[in-house]
Amino acid sequence: MTPTTPTVTPGTGHDAAHGHHGPPPEPTVFGLLAEFETADGMTNAAIKVQAAGYTRYDCFSPYPVADAADAMNFPKSEMGTVMFVGGLTGACTGFFMQYYLNAYGYSLNVGGRPYLSWPSFIPITFEMMVLTAALTGLFGLMALCGLPRYHHPLFNVPAFDRASRDRFFLCIELIDPKYDAVATRAFLNDLHPVSVEEVPE
């Protein structure tokens, strides 16, 4: 596969719809985007990019490719901890809400049962745990992934539409300390991509 020339040149990525106020900003680049035909192509590239010492890069695929995340040295997600803490908070809140309200808020003596009749508080404690764990899961996922974010520079590359269809991408960002417009491009070209394009900011 021969690498193609970039179809988007730096500085032309802005269209009028993104209109900035004031003087036009300096033409900048977000990074270099390599396109691969297969998940394995992307994963192998990620292994080499990681080995070469790049730190600010990411892979993009239409379905989860676990090998790529492993290659990027992100073996374990934080979401388990987030949801555990969320669920525990909900469970404690649920339990003590019931105890407080039925013992002190509005003391209910039903058949002489103790105010802390904890077995009857278990169902709601459980439901509250599941509810808060699920909600922290959703909002935690959005927060950690920085979503919703509708204007990511990657969307400036028309070919990136295929990241949700049948192509696999790897993007090395400009802010990576090892990034060099010429050397990084040459490096990516060696990884057998379909194409390497510059991503306008």
Binding site: T38, D40, P62, L101, I124, E127, V130, L138, L141, C145
Partner: protein, 474 residues
Amino acid sequence: MATAELPTTHRAGLPPEPEMHPLILNKHGLVSIGDAIGGVVLNTKHPRGWWIGFLAGMAMLQILAISVAWLFYMGVGVWGINVPVAWGFAIVNFVWWIGIGHAGTLISAVLLLLHQKWRTSINRFSEAMTIFAVMCAGLFPLLHMGRPWFFYWLYPFPNVAGVWPQFRSPLTWDVFAVTTYFTVSLVFWYIGLIPDLAALRDQAQKRWQRILYGLLSLGWRGSAIHWRRYEKVYLILGGISTPLVLSVHTVVSFDFAVSIVPLWHATIFPPFFVAGAIYSGFAMVVAIMIPVRKWYKLEDFFSDHHMDIMGKVMLATGFLVTYGYFSELWMAWYGHSLYEWGTTMERMFGPYGWSYWCLIGFNCAFPLTFLWSKKIRTSPFWMELICISVLIGMWFERYVIVITLTREYVPAQWGKYAPTIWDYGTMIGSLGLFLTLFFLFIRYLPMISITEMRELLPRKQGGGGGHSIMENAP
């Protein structure tokens, strides 16, 4: 389509590609899956079947509107409820709908944890069914309140009267269980939808579609880091939804079982209710999927093989339910309780005995005779017939349970129950609400998970080779 030569060896540590029955028929690739499933949504021309289903649903929804308007104007007296049957159709339909909803969670969560790859074709579809079924279920207790605008009194909220709910009551548990179930199902469904919405955004040609799906997809880019977090959340949601779905129907059964009504006060109730829920829910999934896959030509994804497996699950849960009926009889006889046995006799041969035999016929005799045959399990016609029979049978199960109240301990307590036209109107109307929402769903959202079907595709066709959340998530 990605058809290039793949490296033959994979990185060490990966389990080998699982051997399985081809779950996606014909030679699909990543693009053709997106076109086949996403095309249903993006292409604005819809088959005649869609219009038939949608308009039928809309027509029934009008019946709901009229019934509810009359109910609000006159009060709950327009229903046939009275002492001793104070809930009547409202609770029959509530339990029926909640039960139908449970299949969705079972398919999306429990089968996920059990590595059942065939669930991928039906999980989105059944999760949507769960959400709409829970909406229909929630309608009944709300309407039964008489003054539904005070529904928030069910929740603990600070008020001038200083009154708080009684948390030792299963009715309060029910409020929390159903609310949690609805919310968690919605979260589970939406998280599953995000990557698919992004795929639709990128695939759409029309501007409004790009905007709509773009907004809903939250700007999802398919980053490997995001995928890893996403899969972890999805896995944990599956893990916590599994006990949740069991807890919800258990709590629903507690509404009955903690009372001292003969035949209600039984420890068999929670498992018996859960099995019945799965039975009716699977029946609903198959009953709807059979016509829909034909209209939209989705036989490649929901094949006869799927129907065969679902038929087997129905056979197993059907027998669990039948065991429940047997156990009720046995305990009533063996327990030597005059009232248990007397109520059983009244249930089988009393004035409402016909409904008990309807239950046995529709729920046990007919489906459980024919589901044994593979030929019948893979025949759309027979499966449709069996599923409708199960849905009717499971409705009668709840009716039989509720009608027990007419023959309790002493004859002085005995009474009768007859639904009015407004009971039927509300029931048919809730079916209309369900169908309307359902047909809107298949028009505007992908009814099969595009992402998960791509994962299911063999590696040589460009897919993930069946490796999905259970293998990827750590």
